[in-house]
């Protein structure tokens, strides 16, 4: 009977492995960068707290506390948010290929960010809001506005049509892409560089303020999202089947759309567009432990966090002293992996 089991690994074991990997990868993230800091110094700095810092010199201490630690924590949170929102959207659309970019949220965020970059030069000089630059605020607004537009377009007297939402998302993405391109065309060289860098995603702007904002959002979503796991499982059978199983499908859809729009908007606001985490991570976890959301959601959050910290560490060392945008690294890792997955799946069926 064991041989017939279609699962590669039990959720418990997967959870344990990820839980071990998380601190290891985080330490690696703290060590790597233009200045290499040995593990012993990292541990000394972390465990000394405000004290002397053991063998670490004050420069290392400064790098870890002000630059690397917030950056690693932010990567963890953004990775977890993106992967969880990806899992939610794939459940909602009953399509394992759904992704935050698909419903136009990322494209809307790009328009918002580009608008601020091109027309808001006077705003950027005026300081920050909750640790967010004006660009981030623009991205957040863009993401939320597109989510609302798409949701309204897809909602009729018979409820919200997931298929319409998908099509509306594609159309709005195209429209937003045109808007972003127009803005790029109008932009001067410096603006153009900032727009394209922002679209590739990066965690350079990490600060404790941003970490705080992300942590509050993650905590809020982390409390609410696990409650939907059972209903999401029922939704995979189909909307009417879920209704017959006692799920209030209309309200469930609304809640899921709000959660994922909020999660994606916040992560895009603090880190730009980071591709593939939301698409790839839930997909891989599903292959390993199966589609049960009670395991899928927490495992995706963990794996997403690990992937983004690792990708960001890689982004910092590949072309030192410069750094690669982290979105490029996730896409470089993600796209070939995804193609491999498609080939394997085709062979299976």
């Amino acid at each position: 009977m064991k041989l017939l089991n279609s699962r590669l690994i039990s959720p418990k074991r997967c959870f344990l492995l990820l839980l071990i990997a998380l601190p290891l990868v985080s330490l690696l993230g703290l060590m790597t960068g233009p200045v290499f800091i040995p593990l012993s110094d990292i541990l000394a700095i972390i465990f000394s707290g405000g004290g002397g810092g053991g063998g670490a010199n004050s420069q290392e201490k400064l790098i870890v506390e002000i630059i690397r630690l917030p950056r690693v924590v932010l990567s963890l949170l953004v990775g977890a948010l993106l992967a969880t929102c990806g899992a939610l959207l794939q459940g909602l659309f009953r399509n394992p290929l759904a992704d935050p970019a698909l419903i136009g949220v990322s494209a809307g965020a790009s328009v918002g960010a580009s608008l601020v970059i091109v027309f808001g030069s006077m705003l950027t000089a005026n300081g920050l809001l909750l640790g967010l630059s004006a660009i981030s605020v623009g991205a957040f607004a863009g993401a939320i506005i597109t989510s609302v537009i798409i949701f309204r377009l897809a909602t009729g007297p018979q409820g919200t049509s997931v298929a319409t939402m998908l099509l509306a998302g594609i159309a709005i993405s195209a429209l937003a892409g045109a808007a972003t391109n127009t803005l790029s065309y109008l932009a001067d060289n410096d603006m153009l560089r900032r727009i394209s860098l922002w679209q590739m995603g990066n965690l350079q702007g990490a600060s404790w303020d941003r970490v705080g904002l992300c942590a509050v959002t993650s905590g809020f979503l982390g409390l609410l999202i696990p409650r939907e796991a059972g209903a999401l499982n029922a939704m995979l059978l189909g909307e009417s089947e879920a209704r017959h199983l006692g799920v209030n499908v209309e309200w469930l859809k609304r809640r899921l759309i709000i959660y994922s729009a909020l999660g994606v908007a916040i992560s895009v606001a603090v880190a730009g567009v980071i591709a593939f985490v939301g698409l790839m991570i839930p997909h891989v976890i599903r292959l390993l432990v199966g589609p049960d959301h009670r395991a899928l959601l927490p495992l995706s959050a963990l794996a997403g966090a690990i992937l983004l910290v690792a990708a960001d560490a890689l982004a910092r060392v590949v072309i030192t002293p410069a750094e690669l945008p982290v979105g490029v690294v996730t896409a470089l890792l993600g796209a070939p992996f995804f193609l491999w997955l498609l080939v394997v799946q085709r062979r299976r069926t």
Partner: protein, 259 residues
């Protein structure tokens, strides 16, 4: 238990259902029959709450269909759709476990029910197989186990309320042995108080378990009655436009349609 009172349904200009009245008492088996597009599935969807009747009303347990909350009605009413669109690689066991979503009976009890439900539909050997890789008939059996698990207490006759089971062409993908298995299950749970309404195409199969037959055509209810009342060459010709003979089963004595 279930009352359908002069129900009409018009989604577009052409009405899908017109003036349908059927009474399904507790523990009865009702077979909805008729040619393609007669409105059988639409009627089932009005009962299950997917469509709202534009005329008349559906009453479940002396309460209007619209007044039932999804979470409350899911406690005692299960619905098996015509086909499944599940594309995620749940194991069969997990699919059946989804039937326990409305209940909070605990994992131990649920596991017992899941095992028993799979055994009941002759699918124990599929428990750990990936649902997406099963054949059509196997999928349908696992889905049947899922809806039985949802109202398991009712099917076993140890629930305080009465259960309702709606089946849309449950036997379409089944081989002969499993068609008979379905009939046995339906008969067994109805004697334990579950009210069954099912859409069926096979007249002889329906004759084996239905207390009441409903012939539908073009959204109208042509005839309602017992199996012997409805299985006549005249009515069959009127509804299905087919010339058929009705003979008596040599052993069981039930009417049989021969074409």
């Amino acid at each position: 238990m279930l009352k359908i009172d002069s129900v009409g349904l018009g989604i577009s200009a052409v009405p899908l259902l017109k003036n349908i009245t059927i009474d399904c008492p507790r523990g009865s088996v009702t077979a909805l029959m008729g040619p393609n597009g007669a409105g059988k599935t639409s009627l089932l969807k009005v009962i299950s709450g997917e469509h709202k009747a534009s005329e008349g009303r559906v009453e479940i347990n002396r309460q209007s269909r619209e007044e039932w909350k999804p979470a409350d009605i899911a406690q005692f009413m299960a619905v098996l759709p015509q086909s499944s669109t599940l594309e995620f690689a749940f194991t069969s066991e997990e699919v059946v476990a989804l039937g326990r979503t409305p209940h909070a009976t605990g994992t131990v009890r649920d596991a017992e029910i899941i095992t028993a439900a799979l055994a009941k539909v002759d699918a124990s050997y599929l428990a750990l197989r990936s649902f997406v890789q099963l054949s059509g008939g196997e999928k349908q059996r696992v889905q049947l186990a899922r809806v039985l698990a949802q109202i398991w207490e009712h099917c076993e006759g140890d629930a305080s309320t009465d259960g309702i089971l709606l089946l849309d062409e449950p036997s379409a993908a089944f081989d002969l042995a499993h068609q008979l298995m379905l009939i046995d299950i339906v008969r067994q749970i109805s004697t334990r108080g579950v009210t069954v309404v099912m859409v069926m195409h096979d007249l002889n199969l329906a004759a084996k378990c239905a207390d009441q037959m409903v012939f539908m055509n073009c959204g109208h209810c042509t005839a309602v009655g017992t199996v012997t009342e409805l299985l006549t060459p005249e009515l069959i010709h009127k509804v299905f436009s087919v010339d058929a003979e009705v003979i008596t089963h040599p052993v069981q004595g039930t009417p049989m349609v021969v074409v």
